[in-house]
Amino acid sequence: MAITSRHRHTEPVWMRNLFIAAAVIFVGLLILLPVISVFTEAFRKGFAFYLTSISDPLAMSALRLTVITAAVTLAANLVFGLAASWLIAKFSFPGRNLLLSLIDLPFAVSPVISGLVFVLLFGAQGWFGNSLSSRGIQVIFATPGVILATIFVTFPFIARELIPLMQEQGAEEEEAAVLLGANGWQTFRRVTLPNIRWALVYGVVLANARAMGEFGAVSVVSGHIRGRTNTLPLHVEILYNEYNFSAAFAVASLLALLALVTLVAKAALEWRIRVEERPAVMEDVV
């Protein structure tokens, strides 16, 4: 297909060029330039220094914690998100709207407040602090706290992606499957899941991007213990505050790379979806 505009141009050439230039400058300044600057700063002191910075034990431990946190968060949100969407989209029950609002809550509150809530609940002076520490369980300033906070802030992504789609699709295909003799698992596995798979993966990609990059909530609960409770974004901040700019940008470039992988995955998905949802042909044949 040739890339030509379907509309006739009514604006003069100079005006069109002006708008295009404005858009290019805007995107370049605000989006492209920061990404480029991350990588130039990261390599300012040479490739060797870059390698040392990112292979530093503290950076590696931050990377490990970030990946573990993202993995646990996604697993948890996959289960919760699917269950909540299924419930909201396919059934009507008292409290349905309340549940819908609750799912949106993490989007509405500031991540810092989300973090503080967990400190209030599980911290040493918190509601459950004493009973937990007497059993030797530490949540705040430890990995569980980081994971809990991340689960909280990324909770809406998968559910929000699935609910509208599942509502639009309705429950008829599931009803048909059941009447054809399928049990609950077969219905889910063979009918529900294939119908929502792309939205599900899309939600996971978005939640993953947020889980790896989350700063505010994690910052409050982690306590910034180097080598133990630092995630990549927190480690970047520490390095930066210590005027260790090149190292900070080197670690930041790792995050940027993770983000790029996520973006490529998202683009590939969108392409797949477009291919699968090509408009139906032969609509008018009886």
Binding site: E172, E173, E175, A176, A177, V178, L179, L180, G181, A182, N183, Q186, R190, V191, P194, N195, A280, V281, M282, E283, D284, V285, V286
Partner: protein, 347 residues
């Protein structure tokens, strides 16, 4: 296999869908549940299928082939169900859609792959869509989709076939074709079938017997001839097609279209084809009316009139009769009952 549902009631949060309904369907019969929307016909169908549960009542039972299936889950009832909007599995080909019910069977009951292919291909031949087996539902027309949905329901060799407004989403011409096709199919495979529809023409054309429902109750059950010619209630008369309402009277057992001298009236219902027009009043049984519209394009001629009591009247006649009468718009003529089989509301 025969269906026998007894004392079925169902209420939702803000309305009552079924009020103590009994339904009996004979073996191999094709029965139509006919009624306006909200009459409870779809709810009754979904309860038989197991998609809805009736209000708890120890007397309630749904017996298919001698067994009460009320406690069984939908997946264990072996009913074939056809949805108004097809509900085909959108990510499966036509072949896989039809094969679904066979593939989800427990391993011991599952047919071997060649056996399954043979069976699905047989059904594809039955619905005349063999060439389309590798297509997806989105690539088919509405009529084709509904045939696939039917084949999918038949694949599990259902004890009964339940059809929920199966032609409701199709355009008039396709609907006609599919109706006739369903009729011949039913003659061939003779599975006990319940068809839900709000289209009286469809019910009269397709069904062996019709169950007319209104506001959660059954108004009348009978063959198409019985319900059309001997309606049991005012609702049945008005629902089964256009009908004229006269505030008339009954004299010596004969309906008369004008009121008594003292003003007492009885409601008399007469279908348009049961009326006739004459130029001069031949007896006291006719009423004077003026013609305001004549519609002669079509197999019959439809004349719309307004009586001097200000009732609007529709009369249908053959083109031959219309030519003999030589009536014109604006003329005053006399309308009388041609047929004595009219419905008189009981007081």
């Amino acid at each position: 296999m025969a269906i026998d549902a007894r004392h079925v009631s169902k209420s939702f949060a803000n309305y009552v869908a079924l009020r103590d309904v009994d339904l009996h369907v004979e073996q191999s019969e094709l029965i139509a549940l006919l009624g306006p929307s909200g009459s409870g016909k779809t709810t009754l169908l979904r309860i038989i299928a197991g998609l809805d549960t009736p209000d708890p009542n120890p007397q309630t039972s749904v017996v298919v082939d001698g067994q009460d299936i009320l406690d069984r889950r939908g997946s264990e009832r072996r009913v074939g169900f056809v949805f108004q909007h097809y509900a085909l599995f959108r990510h499966m080909t036509v072949f896989e859609n039809i094969a679904f019910g066979l593939r989800v069977r427990p391993r011991k009951l599952r047919p071997s792959e060649p056996e399954l292919r043979r069976k699905v291909n047989e059904l594809l031949d039955l619905i005349q869509l063999g060439r389309w087996s590798t297509h997806y539902p989105s690539q088919l027309s509405g009529g084709q989709r509904q045939r696939v949905a039917l084949a999918r329901a038949l694949a599990i060799e259902p004890s009964v076939l339940l059809l929920d407004e199966p032609f409701g989403a199709l355009d008039a011409k396709v609907r006609q074709e599919l109706r006739r096709w369903l009729r011949t199919l039913h003659a061939k495979i003779a599975v006990t079938s319940v068809l839900v529809t709000h289209d009286q023409e469809e019910a009269l054309e397709v069904a062996d017997r019709i169950v007319i429902m209104n506001q959660g109750r059954i108004e009348q059950t009978g063959t198409p001839d019985e319900v059309f010619h001997n309606p049991a209630s005012e609702f049945v008369v008005t629902f089964l097609g256009h009908v004229n309402l006269f505030h008339g009277r009954v004299e010596a057992g004969q309906p008369v279209l004008s009121p008594e001298a003292n003003g007492h009236t009885t409601r008399v219902f007469v279908r348009p084809h049961e009326l006739d027009i004459e130029r001069y009043q031949s007896s006291g049984a006719s009423v004077a009316a003026s013609i305001h519209r004549i519609q002669s394009a079509g197999p019959i001629v439809r004349v719309e009139l307004t009586s001097h009591q200000n009732e609007s009247i529709t009369v249908e006649m053959t083109h031959e009769r219309y030519r003999d009468l030589t009536i014109k718009t604006g003329e005053t003529v006399y309308v009388k009952v041609r047929d004595v089989r009219v419905f008189v509301a009981s007081k």
